[in-house]
């Protein structure tokens, strides 16, 4: 049992574990202390200073986030001295800030704005010290960086370092010139940035936002010549409601589909369909690699690692360029969907693919960049014309004046609107692994994976690195080479965990056969395009919603999805076949590490 300390906050005695902060102790007794640089996901910085409190016996104020609670402390969180100081600090931050809130993307979802309003800060009390020569960096496909809205809390820097171990952003210069920047102030598209967008979801203001594409989408919708197709990822439906009045963890799948139709999308389809397709291709790719290794004794790269997460893909391209062979050659569900939209879908519907605008609704910032990778034009067109984040979709629904709360449900359109529960769970960390195992085990043995209700629980949850193993017994004749083999699997989410997995591989010590890696903590449900805030409590609720959706699906294994069966019959012929190879698989490139 950890040592406890007792302190007094605003007259209330609090007991808390030694090492916890005054802020933690205050939370325990429902005393709210305002914060800006503090974030549950990150280490303590103690640099914004708005969480200051009075501590008996000290003649300066104490930062509650950065000060450990100690036995006998007497704390006051709301005295005139404290309130005056906080208000002054807010006024200072505002004086350094671009206060054009009316036109800010983060307006009404901004921690600085909230606190400035709460303390009723007078914008004119101090002179503006906002730097005049600041330009918005719009070089990246995914992320816009607007220093005029930066409050230097360094949450992005800590996110990029602690959660992602990318360190693309750093604090540079000093004093009045101190800012958050990149290596030699290079633009965002020329650096090691993975576009994961975690900096965006951890930014308290509008300094870091996703590059928005919804104006282009509205234009396409209004163009009668264009056939606009949207597919939405599993994580969108379990988080979108947060922006539109529903409690965290509410599934709004049916309402989302209705809203998108009302907005004028010509077809509203489900990325889960191509998630199922990914599973078929990826499971077969894995089996092929295992066969090459075990039977043909070929030198193939094992473990194989998933490639659904474009942030992760760019990470390995920058950080481990010599180890790209471990990546599955499968495109992500988004890119498979795009390639098929302008081929299979166009053919089936009899629409000229050049008239199709293919939109992906994603929980992700990196998907925008992925859509613009030059190799993603296998349909002969731009496979995916634009990626929208969950947040952008929320904004678009608001812009359309739709009363989301009252909407009736409707189903995804067809074709490419049908999915299994396995496609759904792609959104949670461990989900791709679970989906792949459900199908792979069945393919190998002809029996369902031996877990209660198909729920492979060891791969679920928020632990940074998870592992499991499955022993193949009584294999079908075709897979007799796997008889008795105990295959080992690992799952990592958050790139700092990916790094551990990769370092193991580089050292030649990886015991695994197949690894799932997602760039974002929690997987796609915690993606860089998801509603803000995101923290572990919220991640858990979104994950629960994902698994609930899975349990509600009549079909829960990708290979049983009738639309999947049909697309192989009518179009693709066979997994890893020529058409698959052309449309559904891709190559990677080495990148520089800065």
């Amino acid at each position: 049992m950890a040592e406890l300390v007792k302190l007094n906050i605003d007259g209330i005695d609090v007991q808390i574990e030694k090492g916890q902060s005054i802020l933690d102790a205050a939370k325990k007794v429902n005393i709210r202390i305002p914060t800006l640089c503090h974030h549950e996901d990150l280490c303590v910085a103690g640099n914004c200073r708005v969480c200051v409190v009075e501590q008996e016996g000290r003649n300066t104020l104490t930062p509650s986030c950065a000060t450990p609670a100690e036995e006998g402390m007497v704390i006051k969180t709301s005295t005139p001295k404290v309130r005056r100081a906080r208000k002054d600090l807010m006024a200072l931050l505002v004086s350094e800030h671009n206060t054009q809130c009316t036109t800010c993307y983060r307006s009404t979802n901004c921690e600085l704005q909230d606190l400035a309003a709460e303390y009723n800060v007078d914008n004119n009390i101090y002179l503006s010290v906002l730097k005049e020569d600041l330009e918005i960096d719009k070089s990246s496909w995914s992320i816009e960086k607007d220093d005029s809205k930066c409050i230097r809390c360094q949450r992005c820097v800590r996110t990029c370092a602690e959660l992602q171990h990318v360190n693309a952003l750093a604090v540079t210069e000093r004093g009045r010139d101190m800012k958050i920047s990149t290596f030699m102030h290079l633009p965002m598209n020329e650096i090691v940035c993975t576009n994961c967008g975690q900096c965006i979801t951890h930014c308290p203001t509008g300094a870091l936002t996703e590059r928005r594409y919804y104006d282009e989408i509205w234009e396409a919708i209004d163009d009668p010549e264009k056939h606009v197709v949207i597919n939405t990822a599993p994580s969108v439906r379990v988080a979108l409601g947060e922006m539109l009045g529903f409690p965290v963890g509410t599934r709004v799948t049916g309402k989302m589909v209705t809203a998108l139709k009302k907005m004028g999308f010509d077809s509203v389809l489900d990325t889960d369909f191509s998630a199922d397709l990914t599973i078929i291709e990826e499971a077969n790719e894995l089996l092929q690699r295992l066969k090459d290794a075990l039977v043909h004794k070929k030198d193939v790269a094992l473990p194989m690692i998933t490639s659904c997460s474009p942030g992760w893909v760019k990470f390995i391209e920058h950080m481990y360029p010599e180890h790209l062979a471990h990546l599955s050659s499968c495109k992500s569900p988004q890119q498979m969907f795009g390639a098929l939209t302008k081929t299979y879908y166009a053919e089936k519907k009899g629409i000229d693919p050049s008239k199709i605008i293919s939109v992906a609704g994603m929980p992700c910032a990196a998907k925008k960049y992925e859509a613009n990778r030059p190799e993603m034009r296998d349909s002969g067109y731009h496979d995916v014309d634009a990626g929208l984040t969950t947040r952008e979709i929320g904004h678009m629904i608001k812009q359309s004046g739709i009363n989301f709360l009252e909407l009736e449900d409707s189903n995804f359109d067809s074709i490419m609107g049908e999915s299994s529960g396995a496609g759904v769970i792609f959104g949670a960390t461990g989900g791709v692994m679970e989906a792949a195992l459900r199908t792979a085990y069945f393919v190998i043995t002809g029996r369902p994976v031996p877990f209660d209700n198909l729920n492979i629980t060891p791969v679920r949850g928020l632990k940074g690195i998870k592992e499991t193993s499955v022993k193949f017994e009584n294999c079908l004749p075709e897979y007799s080479f796997l008889e008795g083999v105990e295959a080992k699997f690992a799952i990592a989410h958050g790139l700092i965990n990916a790094r551990q997995i990769m370092d193991q591989i580089v050292a030649g010590e990886s015991p695994y056969h197949f690894i799932e890696i997602m760039a974002c903590p929690g997987g796609c449900i915690g993606g860089g395009g998801q509603p803000i805030p995101t923290n572990d409590e919220i991640r858990k609720k979104r994950i629960k919603a994902i698994y609930d959706e899975d349990m509600n699906k009549p079909i829960r294994m990708s290979h049983e999805n009738p639309e999947i069966i049909k697309i192989y019959e009518d179009f693709l012929q066979k997994p890893l076949g020529e058409k698959s190879h052309h449309l559904l698989h891709t190559k990677y490139r080495k990148r520089k590490r800065y």
């Binding site: 303590v44 910085a45 103690g46 640099n47 914004c48 200073r49 708005v50 200051v52 300066t60 104020l61 930062p63 950065a66 000060t67 450990p68 001295k81 005056r84 100081a85 002054d88 600090l89 200072l92 931050l93 004086s95 350094e96 009390i125 101090y126 002179l127 010290v129 409050i151 230097r152 360094q154 604090v171 210069e173 000093r174 004093g175 009045r176 010139d177 101190m178």
Partner: protein, 387 residues
């Protein structure tokens, strides 16, 4: 307190009448606790600016259990108007090094560093020679304590001990949250004593002459002698060793040019005292432990003086915390606005309040101390700020 007559003393700069390494050797024959108590009894406080009792710091560091401890000599003398550490390192380096060695012996450290400010790089060769000599002596007397020079790279805030440690660890020199303090978790997470150059030299002298002798200097509550870096409108610019507890009037009479208007004590982080308060002001530990005294005569514009300070602060702030980064800019822009008539004179009051917020909420001594010079100049020379 009565006006002490100004007394010049010669403790720290006295020639090596007893070789410092003899002092070290002799001290090491005594029980460690006795030496710590001697330092506590002497009343010696840190001579860098913060003024923490040296003996207590060593005592706490001694109590820490750790496989490794460090002793760091803070020679990042960046406070404008301070240059005594440079002189100490040039003239009596052995007293400084002995002080470090005594500290290491007391707390149980085997590794030490002199964090030398980048601007003093030209001193490196001479100090290295002295270190070679010291290492020979240490080997002879069986003291396992090695000292290296760590060269700073140009940042005033690195004089703050946790920023200094960050810098030594290869990072930006940004002050840390405290607690933990360096004596608990300092360089590389190990207990670390960081003391100023003069503090180590003074510690050596306390060990040499004893607390009782040392306490004969100064007044009842301020003991010992102190180095003052004197600059500005003075015919006697330079480093002077004086007893603590003298009145500013005596000081100005001795060192001023006969036309002294104000004295800045404690560097730009200290207070600006106008002539009318000279009689009642004692140069004591509260405001001068760093020992910078800059003298201004009647030809000087106090607006220009303050402007210079604020420009300095806004450049040398590390920039991480809100009050210091933005506050320093606001004070600078603010006095410019008042001077040019863009803001009314009353805006100065707002700025004084702001400087108080900075004192209350800044992360480290830099931001906390801006109010000292700011409010003392604005309050005492208000007219000059406006017209």
């Amino acid at each position: 307190m009565s006006n002490n007559k100004l007394r010049k003393v010669d403790v720290i700069f006295s020639p090596y009448s007893v070789a410092p390494y003899e002092i070290l050797k002799n001290t090491m024959r005594r029980p460690k606790d006795e030496v710590v108590q001697e330092l506590i009894d002497s009343g010696l406080r840190g001579r860098g600016g913060a003024g923490f009792p040296t003996g207590l710091k060593w005592k706490f560091a001694k109590q820490q259990q750790s496989d490794q401890k460090y002793v760091i000599c803070n020679a990042d003398e960046g406070e404008p108007g301070t240059f005594k550490d440079r002189k100490l390192l040039v003239e009596v380096p052995r007293k400084v090094i002995s002080g470090m060695a005594i500290c290491a012996w007391v707390i149980g450290a085997t590794k030490g560093y002199i964090y030398l400010r980048r601007e003093y790089r030209y001193l490196i060769q001479d100090i290295e020679k002295e270190l070679d000599l010291y290492h020979k002596h240490a080997a002879e007397i069986g003291l396992d304590f090695k000292i290296e020079i760590f060269l700073g790279a140009g940042a005033y805030v690195c004089g703050e001990e946790t920023a200094l440690i960050e810098s030594m660890e290869g990072k930006r020199g940004e002050p840390r949250n405290k607690p933990p303090y360096p004596i608990q978790s300092g360089y590389l997470g190990k207990p670390t004593v960081v003391n100023n150059v003069e503090t180590f030299a003074s510690a050596t002298m306390v060990c040499r002459i004893g607390a009782n002798e040392y306490k004969k200097f100064g007044t009842d509550d301020q003991h010992g002698s102190k180095l003052f870096s004197i600059s500005g409108d003075s015919p006697k610019e330079g480093v002077h060793e004086l007893e603590l507890g003298m009145s500013l009037e005596d000081f100005a009479n001795e060192f001023g040019d006969g036309d002294t208007k104000a004295v800045q004590v404690g560097g730009v982080a200290g207070f600006c005292i106008p002539r009318k308060k000279f009689k009642t002001t004692i140069i004591g530990e509260g405001n001068t432990t760093g020992g910078s005294t800059m003298i201004f005569n009647s030809t000087r514009s106090m607006y220009n003086v303050l402007h210079n300070y604020l420009d300095f602060f806004s450049e040398e702030s590390c920039g991480q915390c809100t009050p210091c980064r933005i506050g320093t800019q606001q004070l600078l822009k603010g006095i410019e606005a008042v001077k040019s008539g863009k803001k009314p004179p009353e805006y100065l009051d707002q700025l004084v309040k702001l400087s108080e917020t900075m004192r209350l909420t800044s992360k480290c001594g830099l931001g906390q101390s801006v109010t000292n010079s700011f409010s003392s100049i604005v309050k005492n020379f208000r007219e000059e700020m406006i017209y």
